[in-house]
Symmetry: C2
Subunit: 477 residues, 2 copies
C-alpha cells in the first residue's frame, strides 16, 4: 500500500513550486487540483478507472495535467511518440487496444484516420463528475506503457508499474542525493522514459521541474549558467550543443548547477574535458524503457578514471554478464531489480520480459575488476540517433514492402549532428529513384527513421544460413 | 528481490568511510569483509541461516559487525536492551525462543542464569566455515525484533522487516534530503530503533556513522560545533544538555551541521528558541518501534509556526485519527504504510498489529487544518523517561507480586533531568519500608523503571467498574 504520489505530495509540500513553463508556474497543490479536476472530467466523458488509454501531446503543462489525471484514475497510459508516422501510431493504438486517445489539439493532425479520440480542449470544457480519487496505489499497477522497437521490427509495449517507477526514482536519489531546492530541466520528451521519469522524481522528491516545449539551446545555456536549474537529462548530442553554446558565450555552469545525466550511449572524452573546463559535472548513465530509466550511472568523480563506462548499478539494481568470453569477459548485459518491467502488452503479452528475474538486454558489455559497467555495443544493430532508438529491422520491413525492392539492409552511419543516422542498402527488382524510396518511407516511418543515404547493391552480405550481416554493411559505408 | 544492503553498499562505494568509533574507522568494504567473516564464524559455531538469535552488546563496532553478520545469514535478531533486569531479559529470551544469545564479553554479567550464549570473543576466535552469503533479501523477511512494553505490562516482540526498514529510510531521505558527505552521530542505543535505524540509513545512503559508546556531552558539542557530524537523533533531554553545553562554551553549531531529529515527545519552545540562537536546526519527530522509527517529522521551517506539532507523515506513510471528537477533532492516532510492522512474535504472535492495514497506536492526537499532527498524549499512561518508554502496568505487576502489597498504581512524575520518572501509589497488607520495596523492584526491573517516589495510600482511585484511574493518580502528586 503506497500513497497516490500526486495527492501525497500536495499534502506534504502544497506551496512548493512543482512546475514551471515559460512565464507560468504551478505549486503541488495547484497541480493536484487541476489534475483531480481533469480526472473528474475524464470520468464525465465516459473514461473508466483502470482503463487503458493513450496520450498524445507536446511537452507542455496540459500534457502533464492529463497524465496526472490518468494516474488519479489508475489508468494505464500508453505514451504515444509524437515523432511517429500515422502508420506507426496506428500499430500502437491497435496493439494496445486503448479505448481512446487523449490528444492535444495541436497534435490532432498526427492521429491516424478513424481513431477514437478526445481532445484536451474538450476534456477541459466538460462539467466535472464528482468522484473520489483513490488514496492508494499498488506497486503492481501499471502506470505507463511505452513502445520500444524490438529486433524483430515490431515495437513492443513495455509496462512500467508504480513499483518500477518508484524503485527507479529512489535508487537514483541514493546515488545522486537530494536537496529540496533541486530543479530539473526537462527538455526531453515526456512520452519517453527520460522525460516521464523526471515527472515521477518530482512527485516523489518534491522538487521543481522546468519544462521546455522542446530543447532550446539558448534557454538551456542561460538556465545552466545562471543557476535557474540544478539537474538535466541529455543525450550526447544535446550535451555537445550546450558545451558549444557555453564556450561561444564565454559562460560557465552556475555553482548551483549540480549534474547533467547523459544517457543514450557513451559521451566522447572530448565532451567530458570541455565540460570540466566549464565547471559542468557530467554523469553518464545506462538505461532503457524496460528499466524505467537509469539502471547504472557513472558518478562524476569517476568520469575521467573510467572513461567510456556507464558506471555502477544503482542501489536496488543488479547487473551481470551472460556467457562472458573474450579478453574482458564480455557478454550480454543482464539486469535485475524492482525497476525492471514485469512484461509487455499486446502481441508480446505472452513473452516474458525476464528469465528467472533477469532482463536480457541484448546489449553487449563487461564489468571491470571494480564492478564498473562498460557497454560495448547497444543491442548489436541498434542505431541511436539524437537519443532516439532505431531498429534496422523496422526500416527494412518498410523498405521491403515497396514493390520495386527485393532485399534491404539497414545500418547506422556516423553523423556529426545526430551521432548516427540510418543508411539503407537495397537490392532492386526494377528501377526506382532514391527520392521515391525516401518518400515512400516518409509516409510510413517517423522522419528520423527514414534512411539518410540509400545505396543500390547487387546483393547483401549474408552468412551461411542466409542471415543478414548488418555489421558487414557498415564496412561497405 | 532487493539486494543484501551490506554487500551492495560495499560494491557501490567500497572506499567511503562507513563507521567511526573513537580513533578508528572502517570503510564499507572493510565492514563487509569483517561481517562476512563473522557470519562464517557463526555458521562454524552451529548457527543456522534464518535462525532467530538474540544480541546483547554495547554501542561499539563489534556489536555492529555482529548485527551485520546476522543480517548476512538472514537471522531474525532479537535486540536485547542492556538496561533491563535479568528477569526482564529472561522473559524476552524465553518469549522469543531464540536458540542463542550473542553476547559481548562486557555484557555477560547482564545475562540471566542458564542462558545459552556465545561470547563475541569466542565467535571472533573460531575458524571460519566458508559459505556463500545470499545476495538478495525479500521485503518480508524479518531483520530485527525489538520488545516494547504494552499496556498489559507484558512486553511484545515487534517484527521489523527488510521492507519496513527500507521504507522508513527512503521516506526519511525524501523528507530531509541527502548528500554523500552526511555523517550521522549515533549516541542512542543500537538495540533501540532510534539507533539501529541510523545503521540502516548508513547502508542505504552510503553515509558515515560516528558511533558513541554512550552519549558524551563534551564530545557531542565538539562534533556539532566543529562540523564533524551533520545529523543527530536525540530525545528532548539530550537536546537540552547539548544546548546548555554550547551556551556555556559560547559555541555555535557548525554551518556543516544540518539537523537534529528530536523524538520521544514534544520539544519545549524554550529549547527551540535556544537552538535557533545557536544556529541548530531541530526537527521534531514522532515514531515508535512498530513503525521502524520516524512516521511523522516537523520540518525545521515549520518549527515555530507549528510549535508542539510532530509534523506531517513521511512520504510513504498515512496518518488518520480514529473516533475524532472534541474541539480539535482529537482521537486515537492510526498509522499505515510500508514501514508498519507486520506483527509480533511469541505470546503476541496471534495478535494482529494492524486492523485493515492501520496500526492503532493508542496515542491520542489530532491533525490540524493543514495536516500537521499534534500528539496530545502518548498511549494515555505511557511514561517517557530520558527517551525510554515505561508502561505503568509493568511496574504495577512487579509491585503487586510483593507479599506486603495489596494494590499498586503507577504514573509519571515530572523530573528536571529525565522529563518524567515513575511514581508509585501503594496500598499495603502489612508494614514494609519504601526502601525495601525499591530494592525488591531493583531485582526485577531496569533501574529506570524503579519508582523514584513511593506513596502509601488507603485506596487507589478507581472508576465504577473498578478500573484504576491513573490520571487521578497524577492529581495526587
Amino acid at each position: 500500500m503506497y500513497p497516490n504520489w500526486i495527492l501525497q505530495r500536495a499534502r506534504l509540500t502544497p506551496t512548493r513550486i512543482a512546475l514551471k513553463f515559460e512565464q507560468e508556474s504551478w505549486t503541488f497543490e495547484q497541480i493536484k487540483d487541476i489534475s483531480v479536476k481533469r480526472a473528474q472530467q475524464l470520468i464525465a466523458l465516459g473514461i473508466k478507472r483502470k482503463e487503458r488509454v493513450a496520450i498524445l501531446g507536446p511537452n507542455h503543462p496540459q500534457s502533464v495535467f492529463m497524465m496526472y489525471a490518468c494516474m488519479h484514475l489508475q489508468c494505464e497510459m500508453v505514451m504515444l511518440n509524437r515523432k511517429l508516422s500515422k502508420g506507426e501510431l496506428q500499430y500502437q493504438i491497435q496493439d494496445s487496444e486503448v479505448s481512446v486517445v487523449l490528444v492535444d489539439d495541436e497534435d490532432l493532425e498526427l492521429l491516424p484516420e478513424q481513431t477514437t479520440f478526445l481532445l484536451f480542449s474538450d476534456v477541459e470544457k466538460i462539467k466535472v463528475q464528482e468522484i473520489s480519487i483513490n488514496e492508494e496505489w499498488s506497486l503492481e499497477q501499471t502506470t505507463s506503457i511505452m513502445y520500444t522497437s524490438g529486433t524483430t521490427g515490431f515495437p513492443k509495449g513495455v509496462r512500467q508499474t508504480v513499483g518500477n517507477h518508484q524503485a527507479s526514482a529512489l535508487s537514483s536519489v541514493l546515488n545522486i542525493g537530494l536537496s529540496e531546492d533541486d530543479v530539473w530541466l526537462c527538455a526531453v520528451p515526456l512520452f519517453h522514459i527520460s522525460g516521464f521519469s523526471i515527472l515521477v522524481r518530482s512527485l516523489l522528491y518534491g522538487n521543481q521541474v522546468k519544462l521546455y516545449k522542446k530543447f532550446d539551446k539558448e534557454e538551456a545555456i542561460h538556465d545552466i549558467a545562471y543557476g535557474e536549474v540544478t539537474h538535466m537529462s541529455v543525450v550526447a548530442f544535446t550535451l555537445e550543443r550546450i558545451l558549444h553554446g557555453l564556450e561561444q558565450q564565454n559562460l560557465k555552469a552556475s555553482p548551483r548547477f549540480k549534474i547533467i545525466l547523459a544517457g543514450g550511449g557513451p559521451v566522447p572524452v572530448n565532451y567530458l574535458e570541455r565540460a570540466k573546463r566549464l565547471g559542468l559535472a557530467v554523469s553518464q548513465t545506462y538505461g532503457m524503457t524496460e528499466t524505467s530509466s537509469q539502471t547504472a550511472t557513472l558518478s562524476y568523480e569517476d568520469a575521467f578514471r573510467k572513461i567510456g563506462s556507464a558506471g555502477k548499478p544503482l542501489f536496488f539494481n543488479q547487473i551481470k554478464i551472460a556467457n562472458a568470453s573474450g579478453p574482458k569477459n564480455e557478454g550480454e548485459i543482464l539486469i535485475r531489480g524492482p525497476h525492471v518491467t514485469p512484461g509487455y502488452i499486446g502481441r508480446f503479452s505472452e513473452k516474458s520480459a525476464t528469465e528467472d528475474g533477469w532482463l536480457h538486454t541484448g546489449d553487449i558489455g563487461y564489468l571491470d575488476e571494480e564492478g564498473y559497467l562498460f557497454v560495448i555495443d547497444r543491442r548489436s544493430d541498434l542505431i541511436i540517433s539524437g537519443g532516439e532508438n532505431i531498429y534496422p529491422a523496422e526500416i527494412e520491413n518498410v523498405l521491403m514492402s515497396h514493390d520495386a525492392i527485393r532485399e534491404a539492409g539497414v545500418c547506422g552511419m556516423a553523423d556529426e549532428t545526430w551521432g548516427e543516422v540510418p543508411a539503407a542498402f537495397v537490392v532492386l527488382k526494377y528501377d526506382v529513384s532514391k527520392e521515391q524510396i525516401k518518400e515512400f518511407c516518409l509516409t510510413r516511418l517517423a522522419k528520423y527513421k527514414v534512411p539518410k543515404q540509400i545505396y543500390f547493391v547487387q546483393a547483401l552480405p549474408r552468412n551461411g544460413s542466409n542471415k543478414l550481416l548488418r555489421r558487414k554493411l557498415k564496412e561497405l559505408l
